[in-house]
């Protein structure tokens, strides 16, 4: 399995993506998955798209990307968190 790159985005690239980034770091550690996490603003996603495998974002991703996009609001509110974790893990073990 090759090491996957996840883009972790929010509007400002400083607040909610920080929380999600940490949660993903822990999730991957827990499941012993080696990943490359890149925290960014949603507007920076296009320029970072090369080599990325997944976008996990708390904001709307209006554009089409060549990789799946998963909404990360659950990491903030706790609502539906297990399902989102499972979806992310499923992408990572592909």
């Amino acid at each position: 399995m090759t090491k996957k790159t996840i883009l972790v985005a929010c509007g400002a690239g400083i607040a909610t993506s920080t929380v999600v980034n940490e949660a993903l770091k822990n999730l991957c550690k827990e499941h012993k998955i080696d990943v490359n996490l890149i925290q960014c603003k949603i507007t920076e996603v296009s320029s970072l798209a090369d080599g990325a495998d997944l976008l996990v974002s708390t904001t709307i991703a209006n554009k089409e990307y060549p990789f799946p996009v998963i909404n990360a609001r659950a990491f903030l509110t706790g609502i539906g968190i297990e399902e989102v974790k499972q979806r992310i893990l499923a992408e990572l073990v592909k």
């Binding site: 400002a12 690239g13 607040a15 909610t16 920080t18 709307i60 990360a72 609001r73 903030l76 509110t77």
Partner: protein, 162 residues
């Protein structure tokens, strides 16, 4: 947590407004007056909220966590607004859906990637329905500050915030 980050002067109770823009303006103007953020923060936080909404339905009392880029901030702070009437904010990550927000946590952050502990604990507050309910019913800034400090200091692992 650093006591300066949540001064009683940053806590506003009975904030009134017709729109999210009204609420954001009132709260941001207060921070400008106190020298926490620059004048430019007001327009920047409103613009950011319009482009990337921060409303969060929590299963009970909805909250919003408006914030913007670090260049508009003089020093880091959290401002809490208890709204007199719920005001609709866009839901984070949704195109058009809104949620009736009762509590606003306005963040003034002065560094990138450095507020992890604080943000993580703030999310714990947001996930705690009884805490949100208690905050929305408080009638004095002093008691809100006390409630928040209790949670932010002791509830999470990792020791007090620095």
């Amino acid at each position: 947590m650093n006591m300066d980050m949540m001064d009683e002067a940053f806590i506003l109770i009975g904030v009134e407004g017709e729109s999210k823009e009204d609420i954001l303006t009132r709260m941001a103007e207060n921070l400008v007056k106190l020298g926490v953020v620059k004048e430019s923060y007001i327009a920047a936080v409103i613009e950011r909220e319009q482009a990337y909404p921060t409303g969060l339905p929590t299963g009970g009392c909805s909250v919003a966590i408006p914030h913007t880029d670090i260049e508009h901030v003089n020093r880091k702070a959290i401002s809490i607004g208890v709204l007199k009437q719920p005001v609709r904010f866009g839901i984070m990550g949704e195109e058009e859906e809104t949620t009736p927000v009762e509590l606003v946590f306005m963040l003034a952050m002065d560094q990138k990637h450095s507020q992890l502990k604080l943000l993580t604990r703030l999310m714990q507050v947001i996930q705690d329905q009884s805490m949100l309910r208690a905050l929305s019913k408080e009638t004095s800034p002093a008691s809100i500050k006390e409630l928040m400090n209790t949670v932010l200091q002791f509830e999470a692992q990792g020791g007090p915030l620095t």
